[in-house]
Amino acid sequence: MKVSVQEEDFDVGIEHKKLALDNSQDGAVVTFTGLVRDRNQGQDVHGLTLEHYPGMTEKALMDIVLQAKQRWSLGRVTVIHRIGRLNLADQIVFVGVTSQHREAAFQAAEFIMDYLKNDAPFWKKERTKQGERWVEFNDKDKAAAKRW
């Protein structure tokens, strides 16, 4: 299990390799990458800055991964979340999960993302033409976490 909160970008290819390398018991690798989108809540977005709660962020992510491991039989899990100033199309978050079969890996990756969006102390501040604004919490994200 690897959890990292970092300013630096990550390489999806390298992360995928680390999940799959010498891991012949797992037949499934599922990864998700979240990017900075150019539009949100009706406004054009030029970029964003991610603030977090150092210390608690890592603990919260670790806890979410442990919950996923209790629910599904998983092999390796990687969660990377970036902080600081990001531009359009930059990578924000990476979740990678391996399992013997695809079903558990798909579900666990989605579970981790849904819980991360509700429980991990990160906050996005967007840059728009009208100035900077804090992103409002999305009720859809709350509903997504409730289904598990």
């Binding site: 603030e51 977090h52 709660y53 210390g55 603990k59 429980d119 102390p121 906050w123 919490f137």
Partner: protein
């Protein structure tokens, strides 16, 4: 001494990221909020907001959670990562 942290909108609106308080006895999150709200209108307004979340020692907590000396308490808005 307890450490009280504020993040994101709260930090900006209160113009305060961190403060220290001397406690002579343990108190609940709710009592701490009442104490902080007395610091002025903006404190009252920000901490009154029902959406504000609280963590004690980096674990999500609630109004009844007890805070002891040397604890770290954090107030913040709903999270928007991912």
């Amino acid at each position: 001494m307890i450490k009280v942290l504020f993040f994101a909108q709260l930090k900006e609106r209160l113009n305060c990221g961190e403060l220290r308080l001397d406690l002579d006895k343990s108190l609940s999150v709710n009592s701490l909020k009442t104490h902080l709200k007395a610091q002025g209108d903006i404190w009252q307004e920000c901490l009154e907001d029902g959406r504000v979340l609280v963590a004690v020692n980096q674990t999500m907590a609630n109004a009844d959670t007890i805070i002891n000396r040397e604890d770290e308490v954090a107030f913040f808005p709903p999270v928007t990562g991912g």
